[in-house]
Amino acid sequence: MTTAKAPAFTRQEENGKGAALKSRLQQLLAFASLIVIYTYFAFASEFFFTYDNFISILFSTVVIGTLAIGTTFVVITSGIDLSIGTGMALCAVMAGVFMVNAGLPLAVGVPLTILFGGLMGLINGFNIAVLGIPPFIATLAMMLVAEGLALVVSDSTPIYFNEVDGYTDLSTGRLIPGVDIPNAVLILVVVAIIAGVLLTKSVLGRYTYSIGSNEEATGLSGINVRRWKIAIYVFAGLFTGLAGVLISARLGSAQPATGMGYELQAIAAVVIGGTSLSGGKGSIIGTLIGALIISVLNNGLQIMSIPQEWQNVILGCVILVAVYTDQVRKELQ
């Protein structure tokens, strides 16, 4: 029997060994495109390839990257979260409410803001997992609610953090003496590592993949899918809260009307990074590369004085190319 089965086994053997390599290949491909785009801009503009601009690119990756990391978990469950952009703006406003209006100290206000993001995730998770509202609709509704609330709570005016000691340092300060890397970038790196470890090594991460691979089979295997889905949306919400802190700390103010549009950039980063919208697949490193590609493009095109309208056209095309190559690669397997 074993000898007779030999041909079929050869194929399986190759698939088995090749699987890990192929998922790496996807990240390598994204990374290679990042390098190509970066090199292109370096040659195209003399202002692009400088240390200051490099830091500026990293800086602008922070917000999209933070949002995208949380969204990666959601997308791997084959869900979506449209509320992260305006949710981030609402969290920024809430940071103002906690620390400026209520005068809470930094050490209390920041965690509260992050938890507020988690609360929005809890509501999303409840609507999706318990009420059975499709993620697209549930988070679309939350997107509108958050947009409106941000304006209502702030009375449509920015809240300034001038009085809050050390708040802007959270983002723009330099924690490591002598090393010119903004704290926001360090924070992104740290949370990315934490999220990466959780996704690959924790129960939460395993169930995230399981639910995305086959929600029904996961449920019938005795896993409380509802509860874990809620947990995943709460977890993603914490990143929305953190993004709200980082963006308001960087600007020194909470701008209630600026969140819209970030969600699409973050989802684009997730998708460019090779996370499948149909669920079950994805990685934090891929998402980070995706976020970097987006900010390199935004930055490079701006430096080359390409109008904003055309930047969006190009970004749209990049998303199509990225997802298409990913599909071709899968078909070739």
Partner: protein, 529 residues
């Protein structure tokens, strides 16, 4: 000897790293039904894909009616006169029967507008000609599986093909439905047409086919005349060894303790007052026709579907099972008939699948996964259950049906379940692997696991079950001891219809003619006049 209708000559097809077909031969004579048998992975589906033009052969040639046949795609193949019905349906569930049959070639008015009247008239004419009792306006998604199969066949035959190829057409049909299908095939086969009938079921092949071609590991093995060849002869050519087909349940004894006691289980959709006991270390068969409610009992029992009434007592203690997580905690595992949809994470590797249920009980510490322990356990089970996989890292979708089933079994063994509910444990699994699954079920029972086995294959029920629960229309109509259970006795109780036939209700001790909850909600019958 008559000239062949369809010839396959020395066809070969390789993919990177695997030779799927080598020197394949086959000849279909006009006016005959040729059965094609082979284990999963033998090359049947590759051959089908070559015949439908999805793949191009590396070597050899096809001839249809003596002419070279080289389809460029499924549409072209149909034009040339070969229709193929795949095992998985190609139907649009939200469209009607008529719309599905004529999809892509709907009659039009003025070139633009759809002519629904003509569409339905054409469909009615076709269905009448085929003798199929289907309503052309019925929505396909609401039909029973058997009727959906009939729609597929009507669609294929509407092209008036010379050659009809059917892949496992009866996998989801009960005996009466199989007879209807066979009648249809007999009517289709005229002196200038032929059928290739791919099936695992020997009894059916005996009834419908004239000759049987056996393939194994991508190669042609033999062609036998069905009239003279015995089933063991065919099977031994398929698997390359002989298999016993008349085994009986092992270690039947009356003194087993009751482990699980289900009383009065009733659901809104179908089940009425379902009661049975499952005893320690026994295999309890569940027999019945399609739609009798066997799967529904399993799903209700593990909390996958809501229950209206009924109690479940496990080891003498009444338990409440609201969802599959509760069931898993109590050590009740459900192995669905549809492994790919309800059992496996196809894109994940074998070890992730094996560890899924017991992940938090056995393989975590402080919320983190202990990958070393997980891999060790997975490897141990791969050995114990003889799962054929190159490693624990293999993606589940690359395993054969039998090995996928073993992965699902392993998942519940790791969870340390005492009650295992197998729903069609050998559906879509080839003959050789079936024997292994049977052996495994017996071993598990001998180790003290209590097994509920739902099966539509009576021989399977008869050879394994210590006792048999027979169901019909959402009720348990009889529980048979092993020595009472025969094909005849099971079929008798499986076809009782107490809700419609007063005599049957009397036989079951129900009040004749009294309305019951299930009366208004029998199994789905849309599409039947």
């Amino acid at each position: 000897m008559t000239k062949a209708l369809l010839e396959v000559e020395g066809v070969g097809k390789s993919f990177p790293g695997v030779r799927a077909l080598h020197d394949m031969r086959l000849d279909l004579r006009p006016g005959e039904v040729l059965a094609l048998v082979g284990e999963n992975g033998a090359g049947k589906s590759t051959l089908m894909k070559l015949l439908s033009g999805i793949y191009v052969p590396d070597a050899g040639a096809f001839r249809l009616d003596g002419e070279p046949y080289a389809p460029t795609g499924p549409g072209h193949a149909t034009q040339l006169g070969i229709s193929i019905i795949h095992q998985e349906f190609n139907l649009v569930p939200d469209l009607t029967v008529a719309q599905n049959i004529f999809i892509g070639r709907e009659p039009r008015r003025a070139g633009l507008l759809l002519d629904d009247r003509k569409l339905n008239a054409d469909a009615t004419a076709l269905l009448d000609r085929l003798g199929l009792p289907l309503d052309p306006r019925a929505v396909v998604g609401r039909l029973t599986v058997a009727n959906q199969q009939m729609v597929e066949i009507a669609k294929a035959l509407s092209y008036e093909p010379r050659v009809l190829i059917m892949d496992e057409p009866t996998a989801a049909l009960n005996d009466a439905e199989v007879d209807t299908l066979h009648d249809l095939i007999r009517r289709f086969v005229r002196p200038d047409t032929g059928v290739i009938y791919i099936s695992h079921r020997m009894a059916e092949i005996k009834r419908i086919a004239h000759r049987v071609t056996v393939i194994r590991d991508g190669e042609y093995i033999d062609t036998l005349d069905v009239a003279t060849a015995g089933t063991p002869e065919i099977i031994s050519r398929m698997v390359g060894r002989a298999i016993a087909t008349d085994a009986t349940p092992e270690d039947v004894r009356p003194d087993r303790e009751v482990l699980l006691d289900v009383r009065g289980l009733t659901t809104k959709a179908l089940l009425t007052d379902v009661s049975f006991e499952l005893r320690q270390g026994e295999i309890l068969g569940f027999a019945g026709l399609m739609g009798a409610g066997r799967t529904e009992v399993a799903r209700a029992l593990v909390g996958a579907d809501p229950v209206q009434q009924g109690t479940v007592t496990l080891r003498g203690k009444q338990v409440r099972i609201a969802n599959p997580a509760d069931a898993a905690r109590l050590g009740i595992g459900y192995l669905s008939e549809d492994r790919k949809r309800y059992g496996l994470l196809l894109e994940q590797d074998v070890k992730a699948n094996i560890a899924l249920s017991a992940l938090r009980d056995r393989f975590t510490q402080g919320g983190f996964v202990r990958d070393g322990a997980l891999r060790a356990t997975a490897e141990q089970l791969i050995g114990k259950l003889r799962i054929k996989t190159p490693s624990a890292h293999q993606t589940a979708k690359h395993l054969s049906g039998g090995n996928q089933q073993k992965v699902v079994i392993a998942k519940w063994l790791v969870k340390d379940c005492d009650v295992l509910i197998f729903d069609e444990p050998t559906r879509g699994i080839d003959v050789g692997a079936k024997e292994e699954i049977y052996q495994l079920l017996r071993e598990l029972a001998a180790q003290g696991k209590s097994i509920i086995m739902i099966s539509s294959e009576l021989p399977e029920v008869l050879r394994l079950s210590h006792r048999v629960v027979v169901m019909s229309e959402g009720r348990v109509t009889r529980v048979l001891e092993a020595d009472e259970a025969t094909q005849e006795s099971i079929m008798h109780y499986a076809t009782l219809r107490p809700d419609e036939v007063p005599a049957d209700a009397v036989e079951l001790g129900l009040i004749a003619g009294a309305p019951t909850e299930a009366a208004g909600l029998p199994e789905k019958k849309a599409g039947q006049p």
